[in-house]
C-alpha cells in the first residue's frame, strides 16, 4: 500500500475529512488493474524507431476537499502511471479546500521526491466550469452523494464559497454540506458532472466517479453507455459489501 498524504494541516471544521470513500478511491487508483489500464492508455509506447513520446496526461480532481486523493495521485505518479510525466490539478467550490489541497499536494510530493508528478493548481469553481473543453485526460470525482431532501444552494462569486469571509459555525456547516449533500437520490450534482463529461474529456480521457448504493449505480452506468457506441462504464472498485450490495463503488467511464 502506498503511503497516504499527510492532511494534518487541514481544518476539518470546514473541509471534508478523508473517509472510507476517499480511501476506496486511493485503493482503486493504485490497484494493479487500474494501473495497468492507465499505463496502457497514457504510458509511453515503443516502436521500431524507439520510444515514442506520449503527451503527459492532465489529471483533474473535482471537489478534492483536503486534497488527499489528488495529492496521492500526484505523489505516486510513477507508480500509478508508470511515469512521472503527469500533470495534476483540482477544482473545488470551497476556497479553504483549494488552499488545503495545495498544501497537501506540496507535502506529499516532498515526501515522495522520486515518484511525484507535476502538480499545477487548485482552482475555485463549480465542477468543470473553469476547464477548457476537451482538455481532461483523467477526471476523478468523489461527489456529494448522500441523498438529502434539498440540495444546498450553490455557491456564487462574492459569497458562499469561502473567500475572505470570517469563519462562522453556520458558514462552516454550509461548506461541509456542499461536500456531502447530494439532493434527490444523492445524484443532483453527480448528474451535472456526468452530463458535462462528453465535453470535458479529451478523446483518450476517462473518469473515475464514486457512487453509493442509493445512487442506483446500475442505472447510472446504463445512462452513460447511452451516450454513444464508444462509451463504457464499469465498476472497478467497491467496499462495504452488505447482503450482496456494494455500499460504495467506483465506476470508470471511458470511450473505446
Amino acid at each position: 500500500m502506498l503511503p497516504t498524504p499527510d492532511t494534518s494541516h487541514v481544518e476539518f471544521e470546514r473541509i471534508y475529512e478523508p473517509a472510507e470513500d476517499s480511501f476506496l478511491l486511493l485503493d482503486t487508483l493504485s490497484s494493479a488493474a487500474e494501473a495497468a489500464f492507465l499505463r496502457d492508455r497514457f504510458g509511453s509506447r515503443s516502436d521500431a524507431a524507439g520510444p515514442a513520446p506520449v503527451p503527459p496526461p492532465f489529471v483533474v480532481e473535482i471537489g478534492p476537499g483536503s486534497g488527499v486523493v489528488i495529492g496521492f495521485i500526484n505523489a505516486h505518479a510513477s507508480v500509478i502511471f508508470g511515469s512521472r510525466d503527469v500533470l495534476t490539478a483540482a477544482v473545488d467550490v470551497n476556497s479553504h479546500a483549494c488552499r488545503a489541497t495545495r498544501e497537501t499536494a506540496r507535502k506529499a510530493a516532498a515526501d515522495n521526491a522520486a515518484s511525484h508528478g507535476m502538480y499545477l493548481d487548485a482552482l475555485q469553481g463549480d465542477l468543470v466550469a473553469p476547464l477548457r473543453p476537451g482538455s481532461v485526460d483523467v477526471l476523478v470525482f468523489n461527489p456529494p452523494y448522500v441523498p438529502t431532501e434539498e440540495l444546498p444552494r450553490q455557491p456564487a462569486a462574492d459569497h458562499e464559497g469561502g473567500g475572505d469571509k470570517q469563519p462562522t459555525f453556520d458558514h462552516d456547516s454550509y461548506l461541509l454540506s456542499l461536500s456531502y449533500a447530494g439532493g434527490r437520490d444523492g445524484m443532483e450534482t453527480t448528474d451535472r458532472l456526468i452530463d458535462a463529461l462528453p465535453e470535458t474529456l479529451s478523446p483518450r480521457g476517462c473518469a473515475y466517479v464514486l457512487l453509493c448504493a442509493q445512487n442506483r449505480p446500475e442505472e447510472v452506468k446504463e445512462r452513460i453507455r447511452g451516450f454513444g457506441r464508444q462509451w463504457r462504464a464499469e465498476t472497478v472498485g467497491s467496499s462495504g459489501k452488505k447482503a450482496g450490495w456494494e455500499k460504495l463503488q467506483i465506476i470508470r467511464i471511458w470511450r473505446e
Partner: protein, 127 residues
C-alpha cells in the same frame, strides 16, 4: 497559479465555451512570483505536442515575457538547447500569478486571482 494552467482553462460562462475568444483568458494587473522547481526535461519535451502554443504565446506576451517564436520548438530542438528548455520551464512551471485578474475576451468577465488561487465562481446572474 502557474502559467501552464492557463493553457487548460477557459471562461466559466456556459455561453462562452464555444467562443474562441473565451480562450485563453487574459491576465490583467498580474503580480508574479518565481518558484524554484527542478527541471524535468523529459516532461517538457513530452508536453510540447499538447501545449496550445498560440495561446501560450499570447499569455507570455501579456505577462511581459520576451516574445516566443511563432512556432513551437520541436522535441529535438528543445532537447538540444538547454537555454531554451530552461526558459520554457521558467515560464510554464516556475512563474506563478499570485494576485490579479483573468479576463474573458468574449464576455468581459474578470476572474480574481488571490493568494495564487483563481476564483471561477460566477455571480448568480451569470450561472
Amino acid at each position: 497559479m502557474k502559467v501552464l494552467s492557463l493553457n487548460f482553462l477557459s471562461c466559466a460562462v456556459k455561453g462562452c465555451k464555444s467562443s474562441s475568444d473565451s480562450y485563453p483568458l487574459h491576465p490583467k494587473d498580474a503580480e508574479l512570483v518565481q518558484d524554484d522547481i527542478e527541471v524535468n526535461a523529459q516532461l517538457l519535451i513530452n508536453l510540447l505536442p499538447r501545449i496550445d502554443w498560440t495561446a501560450l504565446t499570447t499569455t507570455a506576451t501579456e505577462l511581459g515575457f520576451p516574445a516566443l517564436p511563432p512556432q513551437a520548438p520541436t522535441p529535438e530542438e528543445l532537447e538540444a538547447d538547454e537555454a531554451k528548455l530552461k526558459d520554457l520551464h521558467h515560464l510554464l512551471m516556475e512563474t506563478q500569478i499570485m494576485e490579479g485578474k483573468l479576463v474573458c475576451a468574449s464576455c468581459g468577465h474578470e476572474y480574481a486571482v488571490r493568494e495564487g488561487i483563481a476564483n471561477f465562481l460566477l455571480p448568480s446572474h451569470l450561472v
